[in-house]
């Protein structure tokens, strides 16, 4: 198994774990953690393809990862603010009980 395949397998496993967690867990914070894991799996793919792909001197993979991390940080901040706001309204973060659109 060459090193690129190993990286891609780790990344695929990480994505599947994040997807499974985001689909099954009922706490809103844990769903957000699952989404973060999926984003990180994509970042690992970018780095692996930068390292083992052609033209690494263009630095495209690394710069894409840096921008992606910035977007993920913004997403985490907004997501957690939304969770706080929802908690203040419904007094719970259990997703299976947040089933009404009307306040």
């Amino acid at each position: 198994m060459n090193p690129l395949t190993g990286c891609l397998f780790v990344s695929a496993l990480l994505f599947s774990i994040g997807l499974g967690g985001a689909l099954t867990r009922r706490s809103a914070i844990l769903v957000l953690i699952g989404i973060e894991l999926m984003l990180n799996a994509a970042n690992l793919n970018f780095i692996a393809f930068w390292r083992y792909g052609p033209h690494p001197e263009a630095l495209t993979g690394i710069l894409f990862v840096i921008f992606s991390i910035a977007i993920a940080a913004a997403e985490a901040a907004v997501g957690l603010a939304l969770i706080l706001s929802v908690y203040r309204h419904f007094k719970t973060t259990d997703l299976s009980r947040l089933d009404s659109m009307k306040g």
């Binding site: 499974g20 690992l44 710069l63 908690y87 203040r88």
Partner: protein
């Protein structure tokens, strides 16, 4: 060997973060997973990305999630429903099967690997200020807007607004 240790650390952290009951333990496992990922980036030769991962994820995002757990007073995740859990595991296993098939069947990725590529801070800085200056400005604007938006959303509602 280093790669194997780092990969096991990352995946074990991720699995633990997605299965434990108590939320604070989940976040600690998530921090381990992020440290493992930063180690993987360093192993692959992307020093800057590894350090940024360490600072932003282990330093900021994990602490932010801990604060959210404390502020929402949710110590324990609600118990899972049996059928939902089974269906989610089946869906993610199917997704992994498709991804693994794509990785194995993609024969074009064989044998490209050359020497260790260079990515010094100087190169990254001049690329950010040269070719990528427009995306950099857009990301700055987006971060500002997102953080102001987060503060506005999380702010206490006024009593008069009903």
């Amino acid at each position: 060997m280093t790669f194997l240790i780092l990969a096991v650390m990352t995946l074990a952290g991720a699995i633990t973060a997605m299965t434990l009951r108590r939320l604070v333990h989940c976040v600690l496992a998530l921090a381990i997973c992020f440290v493992g990922l930063a180690g993987l980036y360093l192993y692959l030769g992307a020093q800057f990305a590894g350090l940024v991962q360490m600072l932003v994820y282990v330093g900021a995002v994990v602490i932010l999630i801990v604060f959210a757990i404390l502020l929402t007073r949710s110590h324990e995740a609600p118990p899972q429903k049996k059928w939902t859990g089974l269906a989610g595991v089946c869906v993610s296993a199917a997704v992994f099967a498709v991804l693994a098939w794509a990785v194995i069947a993609g024969g074009a990725i064989q044998g490209i690997a050359g020497g260790q590529p260079q990515a010094t801070m100087q190169q990254i800085g001049s690329a950010l200020m040269g070719r990528f200056v427009l995306p950099l400005e857009v990301v700055g604007l987006l971060l500002t807007a997102a953080l102001i938006g987060a503060v506005v959303i999380a702010m206490e509602e006024k009593q008069s607004a009903r």
